[in-house]
Subunit: 304 residues, 2 copies
DNA sequence: CGCCTTCATGAAAGTAAGTTTCATCCGTGG
DNA sequence: CCACGGATGAAACTTACTTTCATGAAGGCG
């Protein structure tokens, strides 16, 4: 059994359900049907026998077993038990409407707000649960020691990349972000051993970002990927993979929740790096805060 | 099949474990051995196969089955999943350190992650709770009907502003964001009745943003402020005020959590606007999604 | 004391669940 | 058009679970 020697791989402590939904797109169609049933109602799945579940997913038992292996379980009984445990742990959601992720056509604003907030908060929490501190540690270490850090991201992930760049910059790390692929590519070509390149892509399939990360890696830089899908193409050009845990819903809410999750991960890395050298980071932060002070009015203290 | 008219079977509320230890003395010696194992470590028992457990209890599988029936379960698999669920439900309370908000100097990465995620999630939830749907409704209405929307923000709030602009743009609303104050001012000067200006500032004291919003208001545009502090200066130049609810902590975590809260609000407004005209929004979203399709690689499916 | 009854128990037979193997099918790229 | 590789389910197979049944220990009674 040759396993891919990825850094993150085996570890899925937080939620199995979360882990499964992350893996969902990397599964074969038949396995996806199984996965969807499992994610939709873990407790129910745990109650079913393998034959039962296979029938419900309109597939064979063999596929269910394959699915078990795909998500890192030994066999069906193991999956069953894990599911039962997960389902039990899970506090029941405040409102059934809210969990689906998508907004019903007739929804009023209050519902919309509740739904979005629920999904956003969940994405943040679940992301934190499944983040591997060991991998984060290594990434923090690499960034803390890097001569230079490039952060790549396109579209919505571009904001996150940019945010990360700004944060690192504020604590005195030399960091860059490029909105333009060509510039990014030329920058990546100038990276070398000891530098770090971070690529952010929700789907993990953004070719621009992958390409740039690949270039950076070829030049000897340490590459880090931040994506929602642990087996997406971007992970193949990354030394370290960090994953978010936004549930797969529609393109709309999925991407939105994912962005918050990405920011949370960025925050964690940032604080980790800052904590590595508190004194210096604090000093840098204070200096930058002071710099914008003249652009603030009054006290800003308020309310009662 | 004729069922034995057993205890009460189907429903033993509180804990199965408690239930079992309750009727332990009424069990036969061999069953008691099984029961003791189960009570001692439910999670472990759930992991074992029936043969395994029987051996461990120095008895036969038949006795284990009898035990299952004695405690009201149908069979061994049922007992197993119930045990797994029970064991999982015994949750450890969330780490007290985590809720405080700030990161202690000696914190390791796992703590940092937990703290940040907790605060981020809380900020999102609390923001949603205190958001006034009526105000949102009016803002959505204004944006939905606007000839043009300007979004202003500086520093970290600039990312949020930019994000909002991009979102509105994607559903076919004419929206602008200006990283530069001068450009923003000139743009604001060109706004008029029916247009909307949104100013984003965590502290509510960012003079650049206030100034621009003021300009927009003077030209007759509807002004919206998004801030964490409901009585800050920015609220004085806004027709509608939306507030986030990030707790006041240190400059670090406060601003970070606030940014997520801001994004949540932006998401809500966005979805609200999109919901106002689903068909059109969906069409626009699909068109934009299609546009970037060629920049994605493969399906993202991988190995097995 | 011997015989009957009751019940706990495990061996073994029987059934169901889970797992592996393999032939087939389908899309992909030469 | 064919070779290739992955996805898939049928069927063979293995393991786990359940039932049946014979045994024997313990208690009651003549």
């Amino acid at each position: 059994m040759a396993k891919s020697p990825k850094i993150s791989a085996s570890h899925e402590p937080g939620g199995l359900i979360v882990h499964i939904s992350g893996l969902l797109p990397s599964l074969s169609p038949a396995e996806q049907r199984v996965a969807r049933l499992v994610v939709a109602d873990p407790a129910d799945a745990a109650r079913r026998t393998i034959t039962d579940l296979a029938t419900a997913a309109e597939t064979s038992e063999a596929t269910v077993i394959r699915f078990c292996r795909s998500v890192g379980m030994e066999g069906y009984p193991q999956l069953r038990i894990r599911l039962a445990a997960e389902a039990a742990r899970r506090v029941e959601p405040p409102d059934a409407r809210v969990v689906g992720g998508d907004i019903p056509p007739g929804a009023d604003l209050a519902q919309i707000i509740a739904t979005i907030a629920f999904n956003d908060a969940r994405a943040v929490e679940e992301t934190a649960e499944q983040l591997d501190p060991a991998v984060c540690e290594q990434v923090v270490e690499a960034i803390g020691a890097a001569g230079r850090i490039d952060v790549y991201g396109a579209g919505a992930s571009g904001f996150v990349a940019s945010d990360f760049q700004q944060k690192l910059h504020r604590i005195g790390r030399t960091a860059f972000y490029f909105p333009d692929v060509h510039t990014a590519l030329t920058s990546a070509a100038l990276l070398g051993r000891g530098d770090v390149a971070v690529g952010i892509s929700h789907t993990g399939t953004t070719s621009d970002v992958i390409e740039v990360l690949e270039q950076a890696r070829a030049r000897g830089a340490t590459t880090v990927a931040l994506t929602n899908f642990p087996r997406s193409p971007i992970t193949e050009v990354a030394d370290f993979v960090l994953t978010t845990a936004a549930r797969e819903t529609t393109y709309r809410s999925g991407a939105m929740a994912s962005r918050l999750a990405q920011l949370t991960v960025v925050d964690c890395l940032f604080v980790g790096v800052a904590a590595r050298n508190r004194a210096r980071a604090r000093k840098a932060l204070e200096a930058t805060a002071e710099a914008v002070q003249s652009h603030r009015v009054g006290s800003g203290r308020r309310r009662g």
